[in-house]
């Protein structure tokens, strides 16, 4: 049986002459604080004010031609953690959402459901962010999680037609 002097929490006047099993009592306040934090803690604001306006691929392609706007296709899968992270972070950024909605036609493809597009564009990894020109021809694809700042550059690179004259790596490093 430990003595009082052995107890770490003695200085907090929480120490009792208890055996080891009763030391659990010390963690009660911590556990309560944790639960309170969970229950009353900052409410999650996972829903942004603006959301992305996704279309199906054929509709987006047709509207893209009419509106002279490129396509952004986000290839995802239900078990893709990095996709969730992009949706949670990058696609919650109001500026990003605004640029995407205003300057692009948007398509989200679940590769576990849409095998045809997966095969057509040879998607072997999620997330893959693919940009198409108004004729449906690939401009650039980027695999994996894309941080917000890089994604913003990518949108500018495509929407301003810089891809016609410059490699993205060169544009990114300017």
């Amino acid at each position: 049986m430990p003595t009082q002097s052995e107890c770490l929490l003695k200085k907090l006047s929480l120490c009792l002459s208890a055996d080891r099993k009763e030391k659990w009592i010390y963690f009660l306040p911590i556990c309560i604080a944790f639960v309170v934090c969970l229950l009353l803690g900052c409410p999650a604001r996972l829903c942004a004010a603006d959301t992305l306006n996704y279309l199906d691929y054929e509709t987006a392609l047709q509207k893209g031609k009419e509106a002279q706007r490129p396509l952004f296709i986000f290839f995802t899968s239900p078990w893709c953690y990095q996709c969730t992270e992009m949706k949670r972070k990058v696609f919650q950024n109001k500026e990003i959402v605004s640029i995407l909605n205003e300057r692009f036609l948007l398509v989200e493809v679940d590769v576990s459901q849409n095998k045809k597009l997966k095969e057509d564009f040879r998607i072997y990894f999620t997330p893959t962010s693919l940009f198409l020109d108004i004729h449906g021809k690939p401009i650039i694809d980027v695999k994996g999680y894309i941080p917000t700042n890089r994604f913003r550059k990518l949108l500018r690179y495509v929407s301003e037609g810089l891809y016609k004259t410059t490699q993205f790596s060169a544009f990114e490093n300017k």
């Binding site: 911590i30 996972l46 078990w79 953690y81 072997y124």
Partner: protein, 416 residues
């Protein structure tokens, strides 16, 4: 010949890691593998991980990106004191234990499967007391050394499968390699044992369930590893060498963990784990048996029992992660695990005493690189041997042992 290649590679890999193993902090276990887990106080069961899922919840391997390789480790700085009954205090010699980790993981295409492999130090312990008073009540002025070093590393192929978009399951096969040596007053009344080794297999099964956008829960079960040491050498204080030495009764325990993670805000992640480590059926009486002496007058067989009778351990880990920016995450955590060592069987050779840990860490992301760091402080804990007062059966009766530790964790990961 080909049949020997893979086992050979496994053994060589593990042997490369083993000399680097050292002190661990939940009994003989690390509180967490990798700087991310360590920064959150070891609360990692329901928290997304990369390569380190190989040493944590294997189901979390499914959260890895396309391919990731991680290299890192920890530097452990233990501090210990031993004060024999009626004697003076001896401090542990300065020791630094590097504990490495290397891992690789990837998702197989866009499928539901993720795979990985890694080598890591599961834990261990070690002390180095020099010129300790040997039972000062009976033999005043007599001094000798106490040293121990137990290392246990695991090579772990791991697989994870997304059963649904919310449920993930994973499994790890652990090929373990353990080494042990110790000095028990080797120049006066005791003996020295070295070169004990053991090769063992075990496994871990893990699940994770994403309840909704905020909550996820996870659990793991780890089977025990029976470690039968052999191949060692024992030298008595009188100079007799025993060429065949084995150690029985040493087992790495089974473990059950359950954890919950809660995304309180888009930037704040909270996590809590509860673990049960079954030391009571793993570490009871460890017996060293030595045969084949080099002196015909010495006993043919020498049996040295170490009555340890460890208690089960309950570990509570609480951690928080906050994203300051998209490139910088900070973490803090707290970990408590009752010491499995009972006062009645306390030995300065195996004093796994620390209970309370506070941790802090961060991850900085630069392009495809992640740089992780964590610091752990294990607060001082002391115990006094209050067991059998007979010095012939309990030479450490009345000894007071104190233990503290600081640990620095580093990890670099590259995603490609």
């Amino acid at each position: 010949m080909k049949k020997m290649v893979i086992p050979g590679l496994i053994v060589v890999t593990l042997m490369l890691f083993t000399p680097l193993t050292g002190w661990a902090t939940n009994g003989m276990n690390m509180i967490g593998t990798g700087a991310v887990s360590a920064g959150m106080g070891g609360a990692d069961v329901a928290v997304p991980a990369g390569c380190t899922a190989i040493a944590g919840n294997p189901a979390q391997l499914a959260t890895t990106c396309n391919r990731v390789i991680s290299l890192g480790g920890a530097f452990l700085f233990p501090g210990m004191e031993d004060t024999p009954s009626g004697g003076s205090k001896t401090e542990n010699e300065f020791q630094v234990f590097p504990v490495p980790f290397i891992g690789y993981a990837q998702r197989i295409g866009t499928s539901r499967w993720s795979v990985g492999i890694g080598a890591f130090a599961q834990g261990g312990m070690g002390v180095d007391f020099q010129n300790v008073e040997v039972m000062p009540g009976m033999m005043p002025g007599l001094k000798d050394d106490l040293m121990s070093q137990v290392g246990f590393v695991r090579l772990s192929p791991t697989v994870a499968y997304n059963v649904t978009d919310k449920l993930t399951m994973g499994a790890s096969l652990f090929a373990g390699y353990a080494t042990l040596k110790y000095d028990f007053f080797p120049n006066t009344i005791g003996h020295r044992v070295k070169d004990l080794t053991s090769f063992t297999f075990s496994g871990r099964f893990g699940v994770n369930y994403q309840l909704n956008d905020k909550w996820s829960v996870g659990a793991t079960y780890t089977t025990e590893s029976s470690i039968d040491f052999d191949g060692g050498e024992l030298t008595t204080a009188s100079g007799v060498k025993y060429g065949d030495v084995k150690m029985d009764g040493f087992t790495w325990p089974r473990q059950v963990e359950a954890g919950v993670a809660y995304r309180a805000t888009p930037k704040l992640l909270l996590a809590m784990d509860l673990s049960w480590i079954n030391w009571s059926s793993a570490i009871k009486t460890v017996t060293v048996t030595a045969t084949n002496p080099n002196n015909a007058e010495a006993p043919n067989t020498l049996n040295v029992p170490f009555v340890m009778e460890w208690d089960d351990q309950i570990v509570v880990a609480i951690g928080a992660e906050y994203e300051l920016t998209e490139y910088l995450k900070i973490r803090t955590g707290y970990n408590y695990g009752n010491s499995p060592v009972s006062s009645a069987n306390l030995s300065p050779l195996f004093p796994a005493l620390v209970e309370h840990h506070a941790t802090a860490g961060f991850t900085y992301t630069w392009t495809n690189w992640d740089f992780d760091f964590a610091y752990e402080h294990a607060f001082t804990n002391s115990k006094t041997n209050d067991g059998d007062p007979n010095p012939m059966t309990n030479p450490f009766y009345g000894s007071k042992v104190s233990h503290t530790m600081d640990t620095f964790n580093f990890m670099v990961s590259y995603r490609f």
